[in-house]
């Protein structure tokens, strides 16, 4: 797994296939998933490529497959999920499948249209049936002129209004609602009404047609009507039978198709990928040879070779493909080999920017520091425990969750290991902050005790207690503070103290600064590793050393001040504020009184500030001046050897004019960014304090105002109230503290990594290695 620290070494390889074995070989390479094909025809447009027709055919087949799948799903036929055939798609298969698909599509379309026509007929006959049934009830008025028909139920009021406007009441309209049978509901689910209009004049027919109502001729006398009814009934019976047969036939066809649907889909996908890849290669038709160029990791060359031999054996060709590694100046793609655990972390790094070729990969360090910084901001062992359990559930049931195919859940499942680690670290930091659902544990016994404050030892009496509501414990009175700090984490007495925040704020702010400077120093050290790997020792002296000295002399000294003030015993009245000390150091202001922590403070500070200021011009000018001198030397040396060095120097000469200004500007930007960045990034790490404070306060609010209220109720109803309140407490904890705070801390930890940590060493302007891989295509679907 050494490759995880740095992206893998890649090589450019030329492959020569025979045309017959091309399909099989590319198929084998696709299953292997380790090679990326380079485009050897970059100038050609998509429709000029050699295999564009075949690709179009594959797309057409995919369309037909989608249509078939829709039909299958609509008829509620189950698609068998697993398919184990790994048959290799050959060009013959394309034609075969194509004709099959076309036939299937035609058949299905025909069946569908037939079924629709039959259903329409059926509906009409049923309507006539209903009409005849209710007609007898309407025959009060034996007018000659009448029109009978069926209209949609919701349009009936509008219809009536139009008739009123037309005939000014000179008509009789009767209607009845159709109560449909079940099978009619399936065929035609719209509610309809039967109506009869007795009226003079023919313009009624036009109006009815406009309402999309259907009219049926209805005979006048009862005998004719009865005959018509028997007629219609027989026709309905016949039609029912035909419809049933049609449906059965449709189902059999679809079931047969559904059985093969997955296999066909995967085959067509593979074919399309293979043709697409062939389009990228160089086809030499006269010699029946195909040339391809691939990027491949050096360590996998053997497996690629084996796969190719396997492929050519399968196609039955005699010659095995030739593998030829070539040297190139082009930048290879960046390949980081990941497994299911590390892929989550690698993807959050890649979201910011894919690393340069063989640049150091921040992912293995991010695997630990990201959950750790999240946990510093989350810091509650109860919530951490819930998060860990949730992540465990996701890990154990990941297949089940992936089947749901919901985007949000997919994102959660992809990050399950990240969430798991975040939960574990949160439990640890929660134990150190001594915060579990806003309560503290007292495992080792507090270092502070109250008894020594009372007489005869200390200043308090019982009256002191009665007089004031709040009292301060004084560490100067002996025995109050035991002299040994609480061995693991924050002392539990601070949880019940009313000046808890004074202590915690000071502690957490200093902790954030220490963590921040440590993280940034780690980042700068990684840049040293990069320089050494690329044998760039010049940059070590010109960039790394001034950067480190600058950071250490200012912020390393700040950390020293913090640690010194913590470790040395002093009276609280004479303890100087570190912030003021630091500001005065930068301003060279040593006038005020209590500004000394230790004896030699003034000269040491002056020395450090001067050193830091000197680093700025070193960083700004040393590298460009050196490069300038080197180019001038090159130009100078070239004069006697002008002929032999002509071409090489000409390039250097041209590049000299262009890039000198560039180098100065780039170096200037880098210096400003680094130096100002040091200050702003250190301050940026204070978000570690801010978010952990917010989390602790929210947690305390939920306890004080939700759960404690229910726990203090003394009546009998208290238990019921407690159950209800606990439900509210749980819901609020999960939504506000876990989801909202969790997302917030996640985002801020991510930002700290992407900006403050990575801008010390990471360039991130490479391109990702995207191999031809059938597994990846299947997973993406």
């Amino acid at each position: 797994m050494d490759s995880f620290f740095r992206s893998e070494e890649m090589c450019l390889v030329q492959l020569f296939f025979q045309t017959e074995s091309a399909h099989n070989c590319i198929n084998e390479l696709g299953h292997l998933g380790l090679v990326q094909f380079k485009d050897l025809n970059p100038g050609t447009v998509a429709f000029q490529r050699r295999f564009v027709k075949e690709v179009k055919k594959c797309e057409e087949m995919e369309r037909i497959l989608r249509f078939l799948e829709n039909e299958v799903v609509k008829s509620n036929i189950p698609i068998p999920a697993d398919f184990t055939s790994e048959t290799i798609p050959v060009p013959r298969d394309v034609l075969d499948l194509e004709s099959r698909f076309d036939k299937l599509e035609q058949e299905l379309k025909e069946i569908n249209s037939n079924r629709d026509t039959l259903r329409q007929n059926f509906t009409q006959l049923m309507e006539i049936n209903h009409l005849l049934k209710v007609f007898d009830a309407f025959l009060f008025y034996l007018h000659d002129r009448f029109v009978a028909g069926v209209i949609k139920h919701e349009r009936f009021p509008a219809f009536e209004k139009i008739l009123w406007r037309l005939f000014h009441g000179n008509f009789v309209l009767r209607h009845a609602e159709i109560k449909p049978h079940e099978e009619e509901n399936m065929a035609d689910p719209v509610k309809k009404d039967v109506f009869v209009v007795f009226v003079q004049g023919d313009q009624i027919r036009g109006k009815i047609r406009k309402f999309h109502a259907s009219m049926y001729p209805c005979p006048n006398n009862a005998y004719a009507r009865k005959e018509m009814r028997t007629n219609v009934n027989t026709r309905i019976e016949d039609l029912r039978l035909v419809l049933k047969r049609t449906e059965e036939f449709r189902e059999t066809t679809l079931t047969a198709a559904a059985a093969n649907l997955q296999e066909w889909a995967s085959k067509v996908k593979k074919m399309k990928a293979i043709y697409y890849t062939l389009n990228l290669c160089n086809i030499d038709i006269t010699q029946k040879l195909i040339v391809a160029e691939i990027w491949c990791p050096v360590s996998d060359l053997n497996s690629v070779h084996t796969a190719l031999i396997h492929g050519s054996e399968q196609s039955g060709s005699s010659l095995s493909p030739v593998v030829n590694r070539i040297q190139t100046q082009q930048t290879p793609p960046t390949f980081n080999r990941v497994n299911s655990f590390t892929s989550g972390f690698q993807s959050i790094i890649d979201a910011y920017g894919v690393g340069n070729y063989q640049e150091i990969n921040p992912a293995p360090y991010t695997m630990v520091t990201f959950p750790f910084l999240f946990a510093v901001m989350f810091g509650d062992c109860g919530h951490g425990l819930v998060m860990t359990l949730l992540a465990l559930w996701l890990i154990l049931h990941q297949e089940h969750f992936r089947k749901l195919k919901n985007e949000l859940i997919d994102m959660l499942v992809d990050g399950r290991y990240i969430i798991f680690l975040m939960g574990l670290f949160s439990i640890y930091t929660g134990l150190i902050y001594n915060d579990c659902f806003s309560k503290s544990f007292n495992v080792f016994g507090s270092s502070w005790s109250v008894r020594p404050m009372f007489h005869p030892h200390g200043p308090w009496t019982n009256d002191t207690l009665h007089d004031s509501g709040h009292l301060h414990l004084d560490p100067l009175v002996s025995g109050v503070y035991s002299g040994n700090p609480y061995p693991f984490g924050v002392d539990p007495i601070w949880n019940i103290a009313s000046n808890k925040l004074s202590f915690l704020n000071s502690y957490k702010m200093k902790m954030s600064v220490i963590m921040g400077v440590a993280h940034m120093l780690f980042g700068v050290t990684l840049s040293l590793v990069n320089y050494i790997f690329f044998r760039n020792l010049k940059d070590v002296a010109l960039q790394f050393i001034p950067e480190v000295i600058f950071m250490l002399s200012l912020f390393g000294y700040l950390i020293f001040l913090i640690l010194y003030k913590w470790c040395v015993v002093m009276k609280s009245e004479s303890a100087p504020s570190i912030l003021l000390l630091f500001i005065n150091m930068m301003l060279f202001d040593y006038s005020s009184e209590g500004t000394v922590l230790y004896r030699t403070q003034k000269p040491v500070q002056i020395f450090l500030v001067v050193v830091a200021v000197l680093m700025v011009p070193w960083l700004l000018f040393a590298k460009p001046l050196l490069l300038y001198r080197k180019h001038k030397q090159l130009k100078f040396l070239s004069l006697p050897f002008c002929l032999s060095l002509f071409f090489g120097v000409k390039k250097a000469f041209v590049s000299l004019q262009v890039s000198m200004a560039d180098i100065f500007v780039y170096q200037g930007i880098h210096t400003i960014e680094y130096c100002l960045g040091c200050i702003s990034n250190t301050a940026s790490y204070l978000r570690l304090w801010a978010l952990s404070l917010a989390h602790a306060e929210l947690s305390e609010v939920l306890w004080k105002m939700v759960l404690q209220v229910a726990l203090r109720v003394t009546s009998g109803m208290g238990s019921v109230l407690l159950a209800v309140t606990f439900a509210a407490f749980a819901v609020l904890t999960v939504t506000i503290l876990l989801v909202m705070e969790g997302l917030s801390a996640f985002l801020h930890a991510l930002r700290l990594h992407w900006v403050e940590f990575q801008n010390k060493f990471y360039k991130g302007s490479g391109y990702k290695f995207t191999p031809l891989s059938f597994n990846r295509m299947r997973d993406m679907q």
């Binding site: 109250v450 207690l465 002299g483 693991f488 808890k500 220490i514 470790c567």
Partner: protein, 69 residues
């Protein structure tokens, strides 16, 4: 200062016991150890020489006087 040294030694050795040299897994364990030890160290140093003490309500003081040893 005696009982200060004991937890110091204890937890430092705990986190130092985590492994030797190569590979991503080992690196992760070492990095975890360093981070966790540093975090614990900051917590204990911040409380080692307090400049001020906790401010308690009088009811809390009454309870602590009789129930904490």
């Amino acid at each position: 200062m005696g009982s200060f040294a004991l937890p110091m030694i204890c937890f430092t050795t705990l986190w130092a016991l985590v492994g030797p040299n190569r590979g991503v897994v080992i690196t992760s364990l070492i990095l975890t150890a360093v981070c966790c030890w540093l975090f614990w160290l900051i917590a204990i140093l911040a409380q080692a020489n307090p400049l001020f003490g906790p401010q308690l309500k009088n009811e809390t003081i009454w309870y602590l006087r009789y129930f904490w040893e």
